[in-house]
Structures are given as structure tokens and as C-alpha cells.
């Protein structure tokens, strides 16, 4: 029997099963991701749980203007962006450089060992990591002592606003370096060795080889990873922030999402919290769109 070419549209009756398969997943996303989006209307209300969404009064943009005029607005925005940007500036090159260094290792055994050990921290849970961070960076902790010996503050790093972001990002790198480098390593292994051969014949040193062959080959991967990272620029892993911050470090640690958690869940101020969260998500999406557009325009890679 001759196989007919795939049709334009599926025969629905015959392939109803496929749609049936999709139902639970779609239901999940609609219930847990899209329905809450609808709940965002409470950002425009003075929401009272007992009155529900329909019964609470509408206040238009009041919650938003309250947020914008709060003395914390600037700081929250600044912290959110600073931490994310700094994190990208540190983590990205670190992962790439680590991958490059590893790639240069001749001994397979050594390379494998280092790789394996580097993935280890990724498996440790956030709660435990934060516990360790606290231990090492509180007053008298191992890392605090080293920093103090080098002239830093003697009362610990984790309660010091000047050091919070460094500690936060440092622990991110510690945990994620190995994991992030996997992608680059795999991309590196896909590079045609012949290119290096011919470059060497032309007299290019290792360094030149890296710049002209390796990096361009990684460009696509880097761009995609960067774009994905932008996807949560504004959320900054706030769960970790919540675990590590304290009033002493709010100045540099408090980000938009941790603020939402405090005033929303702890302070019962639901509408206000929802409006701040809404603002956060909108900014996030905008940044991502801009980044994607720029990427599409200037390179051939983009998420969509």
C-alpha cells in the first residue's frame, strides 16, 4: 500500500487521542499559570479576601502610584537589576572560561575528575547552600575571617550590606559553575579539530585560535543561554534572597520579589503586593522582548 503524503491537517477523529493527551497538561497550565494571571486584576483593586475579586473596590492605578512613590521603589529596582546584571557579568564569563580551561586539559582522567566534582554543588539544595553560606560568612565564619584578615570588616559579611551582593553572587557561581559549563563544553567538543590544525599551520598561537575559532563557534550557544537568563532577570532567584537577607542588608539585598513576599504574605497587603509583582513581570517581559529583538537583528539567533 502506498503511503500517502502527510496530510495538511490531521483527521481529528482518528487522532483525537493526541488531543486527549494534551488535556491534562493544558488544564495544568491554564489552572496554575493562566488563571493567576487573571487574578492580577487585584492589583487594580483594594482586594479583601472575604469580598473576592468581584466584590472588592476598584482603585485603578493607586497601588502602582503608591509603589512608584515609595522610598523603596528606586532601591528595589536598583537591587533587582544590579544583582541580576552583576550575576550575569560574573557567571557567564566564568562558565565559559572554565569550559575553555577544561577543554585545554590533555589528561582525560584529570578533566573528568574536575568536571565531576564541579557538578557536585548543583545537587545540593538551596536551603543547605544558604545554611553553609551563613556559617561561612557570619561573624567569625571561615570566609569572614579571611576577609577580615585582608582588611575587611570584622563582624562578618552576611550582615553587611556592602558585601551581600558579592556573597550572593559568589555562592551562585559556586553552585552553578559546573552545571553551566556543561553546555559550553559540549559545544566545544563539537568544533572541528581541523580548524585548529590549519590555524596552527598558519602560525596562530593558542590565544589567537581561541579568539578566532573557539569563541565564534560558541557564539550561538552563548547568545541563547544569555537570552534564557534574561528571562528571569527580574526574579533574581528571590527564594535565595529571602533565605539570606535580614533587615541589616535590605539596603542592597531587598529585591522586588522579596519585597512582594514580605508585604503580601507577611503583611496581608494583597493588592499592593500584586501590583508590585505585576510591574515586575511586565518589566521582565519587556526586557526579554527587547533582548530578543536585538539578538534577532544583530545575530541570527533568537528565542522567537
Amino acid at each position: 500500500m502506498v503511503m500517502t503524503k502527510s496530510k495538511r491537517k490531521f483527521n481529528f477523529k482518528q487522532n483525537a487521542a493526541v488531543y486527549v493527551m494534551l488535556i491534562p497538561v493544558l488544564a495544568y497550565y491554564i489552572i496554575f499559570h493562566y488563571a493567576p494571571m487573571g487574578g492580577l486584576v487585584m492589583a487594580f483593586q483594594n482586594y479583601r479576601p472575604n469580598l473576592g475579586l468581584l466584590g472588592s473596590d476598584w482603585v485603578g492605578l493607586d497601588n502602582f502610584s503608591r509603589f512608584f512613590s515609595s522610598i523603596y521603589f528606586g532601591r528595589l529596582l536598583r537591587n533587582t537589576l544590579l544583582i541580576s546584571v552583576k550575576d550575569i557579568l560574573v557567571s557567564f564569563p566564568a562558565a565559559i572560561i572554565f569550559a575553555l580551561l577544561l577543554n585545554e586539559v590533555r589528561s582525560k582522567y584529570f578533566k573528568k575528575t574536575v568536571q565531576t566534582i564541579s557538578y557536585l554543588p548543583y545537587f545540593i539544595s538551596m536551603v543547605v547552600i544558604c545554611g553553609l553560606v551563613m556559617d561561612f560568612t557570619e561573624a567569625g565564619g571561615a570566609i569572614s575571617n579571611v576577609v577580615a584578615a585582608l582588611g575587611g570588616p570584622s563582624d562578618g559579611l552576611i550582615s553587611n550590606p556592602k558585601y551581600f551582593q558579592s556573597v550572593f553572587i559568589g555562592s551562585n557561581v559556586w553552585q552553578n559553575l559546573g552545571y553551566s559549563s556543561i553546555i559550553y563544553l559540549s559545544a566545544l567538543s563539537a568544533i572541528d579539530q581541523e580548524q585548529y590544525e590549519s590555524a596552527r599551520m598558519d602560525g596562530a598561537g593558542r590565544f589567537k585560535q581561541t579568539i578566532y575559532i573557539t569563541l565564534p563557534a560558541l557564539a550561538t550557544t552563548i547568545t541563547v543561554m544569555l537570552l534564557l537568563r534574561m528571562g528571569h532577570l527580574m526574579t533574581v532567584n528571590y527564594q535565595k534572597v529571602i533565605l539570606l537577607y535580614s533587615p541589616a542588608t535590605y539596603e542592597t539585598a531587598d529585591v522586588i520579589s522579596s519585597y512582594v513576599y514580605r508585604i503580601g504574605l507577611l503583611g496581608q497587603d494583597y493588592s499592593y503586593a500584586a501590583s508590585v509583582d505585576f510591574f515586575n513581570s511586565v518589566i521582565n517581559l519587556s526586557i526579554l522582548c527587547v533582548a530578543n529583538w536585538a539578538s534577532r537583528k544583530y545575530s541570527e539567533t533568537s528565542l522567537w
Binding site: V25, A35, P36, T116, S125, V128, W174
Partner: protein
Amino acid sequence: MNKRTTGEKVFAVINTILLCLLTLIFVVPILHVIFASISDPLLLSANKGLILWPLGTPTLEGYRLVFINATIIRSYLNTILYVVSATGIGVILSCFAAYALSRKNLAGSGLITFIIAFTMLFNGGLIPTYMVVRSLGMLETRWAIIIPNCVSVFNIMIMRTSFASIPDGLEEAARIDGAGHFRILFSIILPVSKAILAVVVLFYAIQHWNSWFHTAIYVTSRRELHPLQIVLREIVLQNSTSVLEVGAEPGELNLARMLVRYAVIMVSIIPMMIIYPFVQKYFVTGVMIGSIKG
């Protein structure tokens, strides 16, 4: 192999040293925890620095106190329950979705993919999501820990890519024989996708093993439902060792608090450490496949 220049040799040496240093940095904190957990409790309390060898006489006292603690044991069992069920549900749903979306010419697949992927970019926020969970009556139940976040777009996508790359021939043959979609999925696609399945199971399992935030907000008063991470959080971060007193003799704990803290941390890491070598190769494969989805 070409002869290496001096420059290259120097570079290799420096590189090796650097990498060794890095490895140390990765390993040392973990060693600290391991050794601290078997150190003498009094010395541990007084100690402030890095512990690179057990202080005093090594003791398993900390672990003993952990294992007689019903709260910790129960939360461990809870975690296992949650990881297994959430991963199970997540994997099944992801399989379905990945299979469906990998079918060529599926009407609306573009839209559906968009609907699913869009959730990675935008969400309703903490409070509205909480309200939804509440209105479903899931608060203070195990469902609130298992269901929200049991499906991940990323995992669906990498599965889809993998399914899509399975040669058509296999399915065509099955379809000629009259197999429906479910049959095709279970008898044809899944058996050849063991690798990607392993990866997805792994990713989900890690995600659920480590999750704590949603439990913390959805189940605030029924302690018996709490997973290990929440108990850990009380002990490790809030220094609330009252939890630890369950099971211990009164007074037994007073000096051993620091010790027990480290022992509990170890107990939560050990499963990962043990499983890790076995899953490592899948892990690497998974991340690589994921990167191709781009």
C-alpha cells in the same frame, strides 16, 4: 601530537594549578560539613573556623540524634513521597505533551506550544497563584505540595525534540498495523527514549527534592506534611532547634545542637551524593540535549 612550545607548557601548568584550586574550592565546604558532623560537640561549638579534619574524637552522636528524631524521619518519608509522586505525574504529563507536540502537522500545535512556552515568560505572581490554590481547596494538603510546579516547560521541550527525532518509519509501521496513538507512545516511542526519559526523571526529581518555597506558603500549620527541606530550613537557617528535641532525652541536646545541625545537613545531602555518580552521565546528556532545543 605536535611538540608544544614553552608557552604552551607553561600555560598547561598554570591551567592545571588553577583547576586544582577550583576543585578545592568546590570540595572544601563539603568536607567542612562532613567533618563537622562527626566532630566533638563541645569543640565544635567553640570553633569558628574552617574544619578540615574532625575536631576531637570523631563521633556519630549527631547522626544518632537525627535518626531518633521522629520529625526528621517523617519529613524524609514525606519528601520521598512527594518526589516520587510529583516526578511521576510530571513525567507522565510531559510525555503526553511532548508526544502530542512532536506529531507533525498537528492542528494548533503552534498555538499550544506558544501557550505552554509563554508561561516561562510571564506569570500571575505569588498572591494570585496562592489564591488559585486556595480556591481549589488544596491548602494544607499534600496536593498543594505535589501539583503546582509538577510540570516544566523545559522538560517538555527537550522531550519533544527527542521524540521528534525518532525516525518516522517506526511509527508508520505501527500505524499500518492499526496502532492508536497511545499504543504508539507506549510501545514504540518510550522504549527507544530511555535516555531522554532518564534525563527528565532526573531533572524533575532534583527539582522536587530541593523545593521548599511552595510548601512554606501552602502548608503552614500541618507540620506532619512537611518535607525535609522545610525542617532543614527551621534547623539550619532559623536556628530553631526546638524541632530537634523530639525524641531526644531532655538536656541531651543542649550541647549537641551544632553537631546535630551538621548531621542533618549531611543526611539531606547524602542521598544526592550517592545517586550522583550513577546519574551523572544522564545529567550531562540531558543538559546537552536541552541546549540544542534552542
